[in-house]
Symmetry: D2
Subunit: 241 residues, 4 copies
Amino acid sequence: MAVTVTVWNENVHEREDDDVRELYPDGIHGAIAEGLEAPGRDIRTATLQEPSHGLPEDVLAETDVLIWWSHCANDEVSDDVASRVVDRVHEGMGFVPVHSGKNSKPFTRLMGTTCNIKYRHGGEKERIWVADPGHPIADGLEESFEIPSTEMYGEPYDVPEPDRTVFISWFEGGEVFRSGLCYRRGRGRIFAFRPGHEIYPIFYQDEVRQVLSNAVDWAAPTTGAEAVWEEVDPIEPLEDT
Amino acid sequence: MAVTVTVWNENVHEREDDDVRELYPDGIHGAIAEGLEAPGRDIRTATLQEPSHGLPEDVLAETDVLIWWSHCANDEVSDDVASRVVDRVHEGMGFVPVHSGKNSKPFTRLMGTTCNIKYRHGGEKERIWVADPGHPIADGLEESFEIPSTEMYGEPYDVPEPDRTVFISWFEGGEVFRSGLCYRRGRGRIFAFRPGHEIYPIFYQDEVRQVLSNAVDWAAPTTGAEAVWEEVDPIEPLEDT
Amino acid sequence: MAVTVTVWNENVHEREDDDVRELYPDGIHGAIAEGLEAPGRDIRTATLQEPSHGLPEDVLAETDVLIWWSHCANDEVSDDVASRVVDRVHEGMGFVPVHSGKNSKPFTRLMGTTCNIKYRHGGEKERIWVADPGHPIADGLEESFEIPSTEMYGEPYDVPEPDRTVFISWFEGGEVFRSGLCYRRGRGRIFAFRPGHEIYPIFYQDEVRQVLSNAVDWAAPTTGAEAVWEEVDPIEPLEDT
Amino acid sequence: MAVTVTVWNENVHEREDDDVRELYPDGIHGAIAEGLEAPGRDIRTATLQEPSHGLPEDVLAETDVLIWWSHCANDEVSDDVASRVVDRVHEGMGFVPVHSGKNSKPFTRLMGTTCNIKYRHGGEKERIWVADPGHPIADGLEESFEIPSTEMYGEPYDVPEPDRTVFISWFEGGEVFRSGLCYRRGRGRIFAFRPGHEIYPIFYQDEVRQVLSNAVDWAAPTTGAEAVWEEVDPIEPLEDT
């Protein structure tokens, strides 16, 4: 059965900064979408500037996995759209916030924490280690891979203790970071992935594309069981109390 | 060092319903507060009807553990007060939502899920089993205790997988429920405890008072380490990249 | 790709007790195996009485998911075979201990706890609630299902806090039990499932067969990443220290 | 109430290697014990060479927290003593394996995994980051501390997903490691702490002593609830089945 993936991007840097536009002429969403192309996948994109940020109810209803890139415009996402995304995650939609998508309204609402980090611009080497080689999001990877130049994110990362820690990053400047974390909220699977600053060609890198593709497979909804959330009659007879 | 506990109650049923007022003449908050009295504790109460719901910044700043009872007025809690509570939990304040406090704004925001359940009014027997006898919130309990008559809450309980499952309830009518769950969000410890409908004398029951008292000890803030969340310089020298 | 399932059974009650043999003429392993039949699955059985208990190295090497039923003969399993099973789980083989398989050498070694419970023979009703309706092991189930007559297992269940609590049982006699728990050890997925006493026709019940079939799908190995566990040279240059 | 701490050391390098003896004239156990001295603590030491490795039943029965340093002699610990330690952890004794204590029989039996790592001798800088600044084992620390020269341990670390990840190490040579992990098995709290190779003065370092002292406070047993693990009568009346 086809998996429908929507790649969402705030799409601001690409429109305002020549260097970013040159690097990502089809937008970061375009580069991510290209990397996800595979048989059995229907890949779409949506951006902040579209009506309802490109995420009206019918689009979300059809989306199996939502990949989310955002940075400087996290506050411009409407509360309504953010709530709609959160609701769909509860129903089962996979959600993959990338890079500063950790600061997005949907992710912080799903986590219930500040999602604070330390950071550094300027570019330095990151080596991403697989901490959980048995996890399907690590399928096909070697034990580590490098991103030659990136923004640094450093611990402590103020998120709830994750279900699984898939990746941990080493940074040239001396910090570490839990770069791939798995959660579930309601029926929805969430994978928070660190890499991806807009001024580096990270979304063209093979390993990053492999991880995002694995994450789509992992986060796609499954059937599950029925859930009844309402006032109910007793199944067993009650004594008078 | 003294532990400051604030017992918060929406205090609506007690004012509007004669039976509840007769049962809890000092309010549910009064009954909970009475049960927590112990050397080294400073116990306060606060209610929805007070200015800032009795939770202005200075009160929260002094509170080590906030116990929260709410039911019909969850929506009347202001967003500002709810945010302030959440922020204080992130800073380290313990938070113990009781009964329908699971539907409160602070708890649902800290969880990131719907916190949905099934339920039944009318009164029936609940037997609360200790699933984690090594947990300090179970200190001094036998392996189970009964609440003779209560509202039923039934699974599935739509919360994140907890850090620890301390209690699981058996209900006469045929359901089960995870009645004592531990979480951490930021530096703050959270214990969600199921019992406590307003028309039963549950907050006078010894075992319930024992659990709440244990929860206060468990949830009180600890020192922790420093956390730096800002732009930082490299610790190690960077190559030109 | 075909999934190879080995259903292991101590096969003692069926040979020693007429009632059990009449109920399970092909053994409990036969009944479980029958219930797992599906396209793309290669289902095998193995029993205690065979050489190497039917689990020589080549059989385990080919097995993707091992289902394990045991009860009175847990101590008769050789330490070597138990170690081999544990090693294969570490390598990625799924492991599904059923009923008293919780007391088996492989399961207790994988857990590191006593796996103690309370219990009661004689037959009573069990209602198994789905606590995690978003979990694939609950696929296709209603919100609960009943086993008309069974042995009771009661909390506390002395196992490590699980990755996910999929099922919680209600028992007619007043107890509760976490009846479906997920773990990972190394690359291997483990699902401990409570039902299945030998004197009841539980392994012919549709919902039980559905759960075991779902568990096979969930526990089957995935590719994962490379893991290097040895002495290694530095990747980055070291200063003299 | 006094907390009784037993510091166990295989005590082999100190007796066989002049450099180690010079660095740790009272043994690594002596240096660790010295660092734990505090009012309300009764600190003892025990070594491999003593009868029952210094851990006969009465010593373990009195021990609240067992700190364990081992390396080259892990296989020389008798199975009986290892089982006794595991049993006492189940009963509530805290257990703090340090450095290669991760390969000890008690720790690997409690984890149920291989506890494999990658490693490198020769000495390099390690920077230990606090990933969980709200955890009491990090009390009083800055956001990171350095060990000037140490053996490297690198991910993947083949342990079960921990309850909490308190520390993550950055290594000069390019690796990362989860250096402080919390578990519970039965009633016992376990804290696995990475630092501590025998040829470096690590156990004289203030931050390391602070962590071990915090770990003793955290891992000390608490009261808990009663647990009944036996055949039991029904609490509720059973229908004939």
